[in-house]
Amino acid sequence: MLNASLKELSALLAGKKISSFELTQTFLKRINELNPALNAFITVDAEKSLAQARAADERIAAGQADLLTGIPFAQKDIFCAQDWLSTCGSKMLANFSAPYDAHVIEQFNRAGAVNLGKTNMDEFAMGSSNETSFFGKVKNPWDVSRVPGGSSGGSAAAVAARLCPAATGTDTGGSIRQPAALVGITGLKPTYGTVSRYGMIAFASSLDQAGPMARSAEDCALMMNVMAGFDSRDSTSLEREKEDYTRDLNQPLKGLRIGLPKEYFAEGLAADVAKAVEAALSEYRKLGAETVDISLPNTRLSIPVYYVLAPAEASSNLARYDGVRYGYRAPEYGDLTDMYQKSRAQGFGPEVKRRIMIGTYVLSAGYYDAYYIQAQKLRRLIAQDFETAFKQCDVIMGPTAPTTAFKLGEKSDDPVSMYLSDIYTIAVNLAGLPGMSVPCGFGDNGLPVGLQIVGNYFAEAKMLNVAHQYQLATDWHQRMPLLHGEG
């Protein structure tokens, strides 16, 4: 059952082979056993989850079940869920119980899914290793001395370790794809505007996008059917026809043109990662695809551009955490300014403070034009690179991350080296395009490698098809880490 796909679980539930209550209990038990070693969850509330499971069982009994009714999902702690602690991995919100549901949570609730708990994450989604969480580091289930990637590291680790059938993540610069790659699962960051950001705690509004993290492309497609859709409460939500993301899963790949950006296979890419990606490309050729050499010349600019724009937005988005209305307030302070300063100094961790300072700096009078405006111009150039590339190919492929999972603490003191682990993912967010990571093998140290698939705007169904066909031909996505504590 731990390895059952969403479709299989759905069939088991519909056929009354298992109840949602039992299924939820099974995963809660596994979380209980394995989470202490992984620290993938911030909040688990068996009572709440089981109450939802009972309601789902009633709905199934009444014959009103949807496909995902009764299936438990882990939710990244960036999503507000009514009466659940919604901490965003920060001391600042450690005591914040959300009074409302995020759109994504609402959508899962509507589908009758069970909230299995809130997963750990880098503080305010700022990080690539899940080491910045106030609630402690998350460990990679393949090697607990290593990072699971970030910022959706808790969701990634939970899915990889089979603590949940699937989970949600969010991706601002690679926060779904990079951890998916580092723990060997499948993750999709949709086109910007596809999934409503309402109730998703903001990091960088123009880049943040929620998406599924699951074991297979097919599971991701089923989750997209629940998560995507127009929401008038998010002004950047796109008003489009509801689509079925599973519709093209079984299309053959013959004639598919795969673009290979030379910049993604250059200096900085680890040899074992390159090897696994090359092998995946050979597999695609076998499936009838052809590869085309392309160039994304402004790739090298994406990290500096991102580290101007994302902190700029973050510095403003995080201004609301001032200790006045909710969240952390310093226990002792003098006047108002002192209250602000102490509350924020004590409530935010060092990476968040670093980005607030960078963002404040680049927006300051005298620097705004040189940094913010310049970065916006380059952002358009980066998007144009992709526009040009998609004239030559249907999808773009390359590594998701330059290396396999690195050691805990290895890059904690070197932010720039940490930032470079998102070199292949960030440009996709800047362009607003959809991107995926699919397991494509293992590196020298036995750690998973992810293949990144980037599609044109709204090409999610196509990308899921491309990933699904590969997963029919390979079994990388079914490999499961061996965990201590298992019976």
Binding site: C80, Y198, M200, A202, S206, S235, S316, Y326, L336
Partner: protein
Amino acid sequence: MQWEVVIGLETHAQLNTVTKIFSGAATAYGAEPNTQACAVDLALPGVLPVFNRAAAEKAVRFGLAVGARINRKSVFERKNYFYPDLPKGYQTTQLELPIVAEGGTLRIQVPSTGSGQAYEKDIRITRAHMEEDAGKSLHEDFHGMTGIDLNRAGTPLVEIVTEPDMRSSTEAVAYAKMLHSLVRWIGICDGNMQEGSFRCDANVSVRIKGTDTLGTRCEIKNLNSFKFLEKAIEYEVRRQIELIEDGGRVVQETRLYDPDRDETRSMRSKEEANDYRYFPDPDLLPLVVSDAYIEEIRSALPELPQAKRERFINEYSLPPYDAGVLTSARELADYFEATLRSLLSKGVGILTTPEYPSAEIFAAKITANWVINDLSSALNNASLEIVDSPISSAQLAGLLKRIQDSTISGKIAKEVFAAMWNGEGEADAVIEAKGLKQVSDSGAIEKIIDEIIAANPGQLAEYRSGKDKLFGFFVGQAMKASKGKANPAQLNEILKQKLAG
């Protein structure tokens, strides 16, 4: 030394939308603190703004009313600063691309002062942009603490900025009053200054008359009455001139006016000013308005005060002063025209007052007089708005008709008006019930005059010996004897004949 005062105003007018500019919470004034603040207004984690297009419609209406260019694309930006009544830590406003661009003007009527005549002047509107209001900090009721009421947070505002075109506090007040009248006229703001719906910041500087460069300005914040605006500017002008004349220098700063002490005080200097780190709000798309949308709003605009004022002058030959007063509020202008129309519909009759060129013009003038004087002061005393007048325009026309056709004198009309105000019925009913009909029977008037003359032989002799002033005495006596009902024109004529002997 001759000093010239230079003033520009920035006015915040609350747009009278039902809900807030970026949330669905109500904007009504006066609710219990924090009962009209939803998750968005409280800036809870994860919430997002959704723009209320009703605010844009009202801002565009303003732009068109002053003849400004409307930006087809305007952009909301974040103005970042920390304050407890600013929940998000930034105010969403418009900076680079405001909804109302340049090109607007507002014509003001500057009243005569001791030193000069009344005149008109055009004040240029630089721009007008939409933004959200902040909440309120309540310092009074909390010992050693500050209360925060976020009911007002997110109320839509339009900030209207002028060029530094005003040269005196009188002009500034005339502008503020004209603008106040306009925003109410076009129905975008209730104009309630006590509730903070309309408040001004004044940028004030002085320079030696004849120089071109502007002096260093000070901004006086949050002036929420015309009187405070006037006094604050006057104080500030005196302060700046004295400072310079004493060899000092004006420092650019923000100042607050203290009405209790009638002075302005420094709030923060330019050096202390926040760096607001403006940038386009990534949660909101640029606001795009089409030509068709703008034309639709333009075609629905009412006749504007300036046009109406000119029409009253041209069509009804009203003096500019009367036309200005009547067009100070749309309801007042409407009441005036409704009364006049009703009066004219009763037939103009013959002109009995030779100083007016036509019966129509006479009708317009007496209507204007009664609306501006008797009705307005009665409403004022009762603290009523014109729309709540106990005397309808049709009823007032009924009264004016009786003045015009000489059924009653102007003086008796005041008595009838008072009775009508008290709900004693239509003019004719009151006249009938109180027997106030003017006496136009020359026999009856002659009889009264004969009696008065007979009773005052001494005064008669004096009059006849050349003391003309005594004519007034006889008029008064005769009028009194008729209980005010004698037709004044007839009485004058007959009295003149009789006194001549």
